[in-house]
Symmetry: C2
Subunit: 222 residues, 2 copies
DNA sequence: GTCTATACCGAGATAGAC
DNA sequence: GTCTATCTCGGTATAGAC
């Protein structure tokens, strides 16, 4: 049994513990996780059977349990891999020390930028979050969410204090709307489509900061 | 067997056929649908068992099948009830003959306005759409989605033609982002919270049309 | 590391009495 | 309109041979 179990850690998400144990065994495991992620994204976590995952991997369902001790463990790895990467990127953006508007733009770009490499994980998170959060082992999802929220809200407030952003909007509410707009895009975003992630990001940044209306501001309430 | 089956119709969604057949039998059925909707929203469609629905209704699972011929039929009724109402409201807004910006604002208000009365249905649609769309019987979901998209995109294009909206944004993409922002709000929206649906709508309309930035436009690309 | 075989359970649904 | 009883299926997971 090569199975790695979920456990606490000092970072925001618990997974990828023992990831240092590389080699071909680890690559095999990673391959299975990626494969499963695609099926989870396509059919939903609960509708995906371990038999299905095994079949697509060219083995039988019993053999999957040599690598993972449960279906939950697989999806756990899918989600935590994504969150680890996302949070690391956000931290880097925050450490640039740029002004709030610049940092916020960069965070928007980071978000849309994950659509391609983490499409499956984001889809699973969007569709199955509500179900998975019921289980203790996925408590870290909420923790990671809180940490990310703090990063965004802090920047929005800083931008308001610096006079870059209008002060008649609610920081937390604004963050939620930005967040939702980015991640939900995974539902219709298709790699190779009319717009790439970078194009989506610039489009959204334009509307977010300057608005859809032409000409003068209709309500400069600030 | 009082069960009503799904069938085609001239409107966008098929359900609520025979809804005229009112009386206490129909009320009982409606009550069961509303009850089921809440559980679907809380636990997800697949994770909800017919036993659970029956228990919360104070009956046994076998008795449920006197009212519905399958679990799918129940969720079908949940979703089509919502879509029928939504599309009817949109149509009314379009028929007002107002300018695009006014109509679009009204459509945003309509969207947020459904959060409270249709919270459960919207939650189910957000979380289980991907799963349900696999089945033929839910093809009408996609049809309804297309009809709604047409309504929005037409208004956005009209606004651009009239000079109300900037022309350097993509109408379809802009629609998707607006749509996503509205519906995903059910994930965190709680009736009785800090902001009511009307407040959310006005907040969003402000940012959507005028942007988050203060002062002059940074990029008036149009 | 994969296979065969199977245990075990809980799901949706049905039949017929009341 | 509800209950009792039960069928059937397909899911996750396990044990041990190879």
């Amino acid at each position: 049994m090569t199975t790695r179990k979920s456990s606490g850690s000092t970072t925001a998400t618990p997974a990828k513990r023992q990831r240092a144990t590389s080699g071909s065994a680890s690559e095999r495991r990673d391959h299975l996780v990626k494969l499963a992620a695609e099926i989870f994204a396509r059919k939903g976590f609960q509708a995906t059977t371990v038999r299905e995952i095994a079949t697509e991997a060219g083995i039988l369902s019993g053999s999957l349990y040599h690598h993972f001790d449960s279906k939950e463990t697989i999806v756990d790895e899918v989600l935590s891999t994504f969150l680890d990467d996302l949070i690391a990127r956000y931290r880097a953006a925050l450490e640039s020390g740029s002004d709030p508007r610049t940092v916020l733009s960069e965070m928007v770009r980071i978000g849309f930028g994950t659509l391609e490499p983490h499409r499956a994980a984001i889809t699973v998170m969007q569709n199955d979050w509500n179900y998975l959060r019921q289980f203790e082992r996925f408590n870290y999802l909420v923790k990671a969410e809180d940490e990310v929220e703090q990063m965004w809200v802090t920047q929005i407030k800083a931008g308001q204090a610096a006079g870059q952003f209008r002060t008649d909007v609610d920081p937390k509410l604004t963050y939620r709307m930005i967040r939702d707009t980015i991640w939900v895009a995974v539902r219709w975003f298709r790699p190779g489509g009319r717009l790439n992630p970078a194009g989506l990001a610039e489009h959204y940044i334009t509307v977010l900061f300057d608005g859809l209306a032409t000409g003068e501001r209709t309500s400069q309430r600030a």
